[in-house]
């Protein structure tokens, strides 16, 4: 018996297509409820950010200088008529305010004026993703009573709707986090690959740079770097600057790992195999070595993003992140904390942006951890 052909494959439910690494990881990931929840919530958060102008009842910076609504409290939404108790169209009451010169508290009281809430009302015009124009809002009080407004999460220092601002802020908080990490990943991969590939002086220079950046505490470095750029640049440019700085200070770790990984992958048999087939160095780098970083990169991204969101919030908190008219959750919090104790005990709703940070970072962590586990080869046979 000399046949070398195996008999019919033994006990293998043959699938038509092969299972790539990603398919396997996805299978693992599907089993992790927490991570999936995190992932779904993150998708919702991003949808919220994209459609912020539509979901928000108001414009980012709308307030009135005649009808002062500084720190307007959240308005409860009623769905029953107070007299009849019957269900009606949802409505909120209009509030009046008065500075109590005895307690120095600006007192808000609901009036009897009902502001009905309509869905799909016309209001402030906007552009979704910068090009889809619209003026339709998910909900609002319409135009019956111009001074009527819904404050789902209260108002802030100038009386602007906090809910609206949180939604708009999510656009910046969520993009800066992702943008900076994506950028630093690209830089890190590139630098790491350069170092591993060229070795010698290039390697030394890059690794020294990594060391130097790591040696200066990141907070100091960010503040220093930000101070190079004039603050009067276009606010949107300022965001890119912060994004760039965040990316600049954080590529080191990845570069180091990439270099190490590539150097060790270089010793692996499948690279030797490609070399023996006559593959060029470029091909080996791009087809064989860099892809080994994908797992690390995916996990790194999903764990780096929350870290960056946190850093960004910290920077905005100390005033070098988002600047008016743009807001991020961190800068909203910074504005909140200027009120000191009052923010905590007389208008706690200004802290809501903080919980958005906590929530988002938490979700990202769950997702990132789930991905890490899913890609963990130890979890597979």
């Amino acid at each position: 018996m000399t046949t070398t052909t195996p008999s019919t494959p033994v006990a293998r439910t043959s699938r038509p297509r092969g299972q790539s690494q990603f398919a396997v990881a996805w299978g693992q990931f599907r089993k992790n409820r927490l991570a999936q929840t995190g992932g779904v919530l993150i998708i919702l958060l991003y949808l919220m950010a994209i459609f912020a102008p539509f979901i928000a009842p108001d414009g980012l910076s709308n307030y009135s200088t005649s009808n002062i609504t500084k720190f307007h409290p959240p308005t409860p939404v009623h769905i029953r008529d107070p007299q009849t108790g019957a269900f009606t169209r949802p409505f909120v009451y209009q509030y009046t305010q008065q500075l109590n010169l005895d307690t120095f508290v600006n007192e808000y009281r609901p009036t009897n004026q009902k502001c009905p809430i309509y869905f799909g009302v016309r209001g402030d015009s906007y552009k979704i993703l910068g090009f889809i124009p619209g003026s339709l809002h998910l909900f609002g009080t319409g135009v019956d009573v111009p001074t009527c407004k819904v404050y789902l999460m209260g108002g802030e220092a100038l009386g602007r709707d906090l809910f609206t601002r949180i939604l708009y802020a999510s656009q910046i908080s969520l993009t800066i986090g992702v943008g900076a990490v994506v950028l630093s990943t690209i830089i890190g991969l590139f630098m790491g690959a350069m170092a591993a590939f060229f070795g010698g002086i290039v390697d030394t220079v890059i690794m020294r740079m990594v060391e130097v950046i790591a040696a200066i505490p990141y907070l100091f470095l960010i503040i220093l770097l930000r101070s190079i750029f004039p603050k009067n640049i276009n606010p949107i440019l300022a965001l890119y600057v912060i994004l760039g700085i965040l990316a600049f200070i954080s590529w080191g770790g990845l570069a180091r790992v990439t270099r190490g990984q590539l150097l060790s992958v270089r010793e692996l048999d499948f690279v030797a195999a490609a070399k023996s087939l006559g593959a060029s160095d470029n091909r080996i780098m791009i087809r064989h070595m860099l892809p080994t970083m994908t797992t690390y990169v995916i996990v790194g991204l999903s764990l780096g993003i929350p870290a960056t969101i946190l850093t960004e919030s910290g920077l905005s908190f100390i005033g070098i992140g988002a600047v008016e008219p743009y807001v991020s959750w961190g800068s909203l919090l910074s504005q909140a904390q200027e009120g000191g104790l009052s923010s905590l005990n007389s208008r706690p709703w200004v802290l809501i942006p903080g919980f958005f940070i906590v929530f988002t970072v938490g979700c990202f962590q769950l997702l990132g951890d789930g991905l890490r586990d899913a890609f963990d080869p130890r979890k597979r046979q």
Binding site: T65, L99, F104, V105, P230, N232, E324, Q335, G340
Partner: protein
Amino acid sequence: APFVYPAAWTAEQNTANKRGGEFRDYTISDFKTFNPFTSAEATSIPLTMGAGAGLFTQDPRNDEFIPKMADGPATVSNNGKRFVVKIRQGMKFSDGQEITADDWVTTFKIHTDDKVGSNSYDSFFLNDKPITVKKINTYTVQFDFPAVSATAYATMSYTPWPDHVFGAAYRSGGAEGVKKLWGLGTAPAQIVSPGMWVLSSYRAGERAVLSANKSYGDWNKDSRGQALPYLATYSYRIVADLNAALAAYLAGQLDAYGPRNADDLAQIKRAIDGGNLKAYLKANVSPQASSQWITFNWNKASDPAKQKLFRDVRFRRAMSHIANRQAMVQLALGGLGQETYFSTYPIFKNQIDAGLSAGAPQYKYDLAAAGKLLAQLGYTKKNSDGYLVDKAGKVLEFTLSTNAGNTTREQLGRIFADEAKKAGVKVNFTPIDFNTLVGQLTAKGENRPFDAILLGLSGGDNIWSFGSNVVPCGTNLHSYNNPTDGKCATSQEQLMTKLFYQGDAELNTAKRLAIGAQLMKAEGELQPVIYLVGGSYHVTYNERVGGEYPTNLQNSYYLSRDTALTFVK
């Protein structure tokens, strides 16, 4: 004979002669040095130590200078330019050395040595001409001013630092010798004070503790002949920011606090009402001694259209009409503040009143009026975005900057920009880095790098309440027009410059107020700078301390108490 603190300076007499105890104050920035010649902070150890030491002191009841370390009024001669002052005898430094004329002369010399870099350097010059200080004998000093000065008494009231410490170092080591002395590392025991307090301990970034200078009590008595101060200790807690200070105050860890706004007041009131804090609280005691304003750049060679616009008085008046000061007070100041229209701080009520009665104009919030003025400038049409355009279709717009991080200013700017939009003026409001902003503001030349800046000033005195660096042409903070040659661009500016020097040299208060009123009128009409709003000054302190000024004397200039008369109940 000792100096006797008038009984009227305190609302509550320390009849029980309570002595000892500690007054717990705070500061939001750490101390940088103990050296009086290199110190530059608003709250500093030398400043605190030297409290009560000066030839003259201003009486809060009538703003007059009365002799403190001087043994009597100065002898004035040479057309009011020479002052010969006799020094009170028997005064000692905290180390027991007698305080003599040498100390004044040495202190003066060191302050005016440019290598020392003293912050007080400029105060010894009048219009770039130096004052001279001469010792006549051990107990007599002579001051010679280059010109007559209304602020001569304030100038002479600097704190004398010990010649036997600084003079010795200066003579042997020059400026460097002086600068080396009294760093933060210096042992408190080596530090000598002529004033009420002397340093007893310091922990970097946390706390400085000063104790009463025993020698001070020898020549300072209360109206019943008791030595002052009553307190044994005066301490500073160094806090991160005012929120932290408020928290500490509410926790009973500090004896006084300067409430900023309605929020602070509400917190304190709530703590008091809740029985957690026994404290005195009075809101709106007086306006603040500061201003917030918008200045337009007249030196914009690169953009002649803008330069022309900014130099047009109608434009500036329109801008004043646009400033919704009412909303600013309500939103940015929480309702506790007042509208301002002049460079003189509202606290200097005498001057303001004089100006108003002389007909100094106020261009109040009135968008319609603004619109009319702008129409006169050729801005009659609005484009699709609602902005005014000129005939060429160019939008009426400019950039307004302020320093990032100052919430109040950011809100003022926001409101200004938003109101401007209603009037069809496009204001690009950007908070920028403080240093950059100041660089732009103080830049000199025909083409200065900004459109408009929103900023504030504080400092100055109630004798002649116009800034020497602000009003005259060619000075640093003549912010709207600062060309290379420093020349005035308008006759009003020339008039204002003239009036400034005239008032500065006028010793008669009434006459001085009248000159000031003319100045205000010129300024109001020219509207070189749009003044916006000013906050209110509030007073609160823990009720365990007494000895504060009577309520009518408390204000943002004299504050709420003289520490000499403060005691722990």
